[in-house]
Amino acid sequence: MSCQDVLKNIHDYLDGELSASQAAEFESHLRQCDACRCEVDDLSWVRQTLAVKEHLPAAAEEQIWKHVHQRLGVVWWDWAYGLFDDIRTYWRDLDRITVWTRVSAVPVTLAFFVSILLQFPLVAIEEWTYPAFTMKRMPSSVFSEALVTQIQARHTPAEIDDIMSAAWKLPYEDSFTVLAQVTAEGHAEIEDVIEYPKSHDLLQAVDDTLRATQFQTAQNNTVKPLVIYSFQKIDVYSDQPGL
């Protein structure tokens, strides 16, 4: 038996798990090798030192027995304490990362977050905005989103599409809201700016776009249509600086 074998089997030897022949071989090596004998001696010493038994002090024993005796048979307290103990064990096991608590932690966590989310009921956007308003969403990438709010009742879908495509082409990351009036010529002019964009150029570009767009509803003189033009664009065209 080599030193390596001895070190490998050292704990089995100490615990008496080796067969008689293996143990004899082990011991014959120990007689020849000081280093291995030292190793075995050290570990046996640790075991002996550990093996000191404690005795429950008599006074404490009496006290514990008294406490235990007092609490025997008190049903509600047992039940409450048992529940507390189970919860405590559950949280402790989360800390110790045992498999079953890991698995059960998933639904518990999900249920927790769902219960929070349920406090905020989902409301369709049409329900809380004025019914005449509809929201149209541009086809967007993960990097960009454009929203155009329009008074649907006063424009044909084609007009709205025109405005939205014009807005979509604007090379800015910005937002604004303007109130525009359709003129007698069928174009539109900005009447009031409710929310200014950061860039003056963008406002100018929108104004140009509105002036260049031909609105079908201008033919109908009985109404003076309004355009509420709200635009939010988060996009970066690095290859198109400025207009």
Binding site: E17, A51, K53, W65, L72
Partner: protein, 208 residues
């Protein structure tokens, strides 16, 4: 009840437990007292070495026997009563072994291994029994051992204590901690190696 230690004691304990469990299920107080006297020292020794705090260990001992009374109906007899009690003890000790406790508890005070500031042994405040047999060096070694034990991960500490202090076989330890025998073996080996390293200085002193 006399001192029942070692394999003889555990064998007696196992034989008795068949009848005891039936009586415990009926909440027979006499049976309960018998179990308490039979296993209190085993439970207390394991707790005190796991937690290195005598008052905590007493609390754990109390909780273990209360749990025995409360949950005896969930004990299905798949293992011996002793194994089950060890399992409950480990569970209770682990609950009290939270990281904040290990981190912030001042061990030199909580150990209460009978040392004054000047290193002289003092009588145990709970038992009031003098300890003439404890020389300063032995106390010092026990203190160092307890500190070394504290530095082990809980699983390793539990495995080493169950094997070397309680004298359980590898299979019994595996049953108590709910792990494979191979895992238990490696925990014991690693635990002992670390204890040996930590206690090297005392070992040299002990030879003198």
């Amino acid at each position: 009840m006399g001192e029942l230690t070692g394999s003889f004691g555990s064998r007696i304990g196992f034989q008795e437990s068949e009848d005891l469990v039936v009586r415990l299920r009926e909440h027979d107080e006499q049976a309960f007292a018998e179990v308490f006297h039979l296993y209190k020292d085993l439970v207390y020794t394991l707790s005190v070495k796991l937690l290195s705090d005598k008052s905590e260990a007493m609390d754990v001992t109390q909780e273990v026997f209360l749990t025995l009374y409360r949950k005896i109906n969930s004990f299905r007899g798949e293992c011996s009563l002793k194994t089950w009690l060890y399992r409950v003890t480990l569970n209770q000790a682990a609950n009290r072994n939270r990281w904040w406790r290990r981190r912030f508890l001042d061990r030199t005070e909580s150990l209460s291994l009978g040392l004054k500031d000047n290193g002289q042994p003092v009588p145990d405040p709970v038992s009031n029994q003098p300890r003439p047999d404890r020389v300063a060096f032995a106390v010092e070694i026990q203190k160092a051992l307890q500190e070394a034990l504290d530095s082990l991960p809980f699983e390793q500490r539990a495995a080493v204590l169950l094997r070397d202090v309680q004298g359980l076989s590898y299979e019994e330890v595996a049953e108590v901690v709910g792990a494979e025998v191979g895992t238990v073996k490696s925990r014991i080996a690693r635990g002992r190696e670390r204890l040996k390293e930590r206690l090297k200085a005392y070992r040299e002193g002990a030879d003198l």
